[in-house]
Symmetry: C2
Subunit: 168 residues, 2 copies
């Protein structure tokens, strides 16, 4: 098992999140409300709203792929104001993940990962993945999902999880 | 990187969750309400309340360690009714995780993982870990955290994440 094995999982989860947004659009249509009111929905007044949960999930996936591969992540200025724009952000992130190959990530576990928010310190690639990137990513994807569910969107845990590669 | 690297992370996250429950107790005391009212708090009427979120997070960690190591997980009959009992459940799960050694998990990535809910099918160990156990675990830990935060408990993302092994 190596760091690259997680990149398709980030992509799978972002794809599932996009399908949850599709369900949000259907829900808004059925209830005759403007779907973009959900963009500022949140679970606590001092917690990120849906927009920043999705932006953060995208960033977490994109920077994980970038840090572990040494590739440059595309810039996203966090200007999304609508569900449609947030879905475009997800698609852009998915497109970047597609460009990162297994060969790019060879040795990723041993890279020095030093994002700005670590203030000059660094974390070893595998520890970054296990202890920082994955929990942070799942935190934001789950919270985005919970905001939708809290607002009546018909999503269940299998929408969040997606399918498994089952064998007979 | 192998499957064993994730076991201390399950433990770390459960420990962080326990600290969030400690904050819930402090919050209830400060606001003079009975902390166990939070046990049935939930974010949507058809979603698990806090008790089952915590039970599920514990089970996810415990069964992951059991399936990847071949060890028998301790039974927990899901009878917790109080925050104190939920904290005991977490501690019991942490104690089991402590018993699983790196040697137990050697080859865990290639094990056939066939929990009952897969209805006779199975998933390869590494795919179980990456695509089932970790997302499921983080889903429940994050939702438990969100229920607390939604109810005014003073938890922030760093309580969820815990500290990182930073290097100079």
């Amino acid at each position: 098992m190596n760091a690259f094995d997680f990149l398709p999982q980030y992509a799978k989860m972002l794809h599932n999140l996009d399908l949850c947004l599709e369900k949000a659009i259907a829900h808004a249509k059925a209830k005759s409300f403007e779907v973009d009111t959900l963009v500022q929905a949140r679970l606590a007044p001092d917690q990120y709203a849906l927009d920043r949960q999705i932006q953060s999930a995208c960033d977490s996936a994109k920077f994980s792929a970038a840090y572990l591969s040494g590739k440059q992540a595309p810039a996203h200025p966090d200007t999304e104001k609508t569900i449609a724009e947030l879905r475009t952000r997800i698609k852009s992130c998915l497109a970047f993940l597609e460009t990162v190959t297994a060969a790019d990530v060879v040795g990723g576990e041993d890279r020095k990962v030093a994002p700005k928010w670590l203030g000059g310190k660094w974390v070893k690639g595998d520890q970054f993945l296990v202890q920082a990137s994955l929990p942070n990513f799942y935190f934001h994807v789950t919270t985005a999902y919970s905001i939708l569910r809290h607002n009546g969107v018909d999503v269940g845990k299998m929408d969040f999880m997606g399918s498994l590669p089952l064998r007979d």
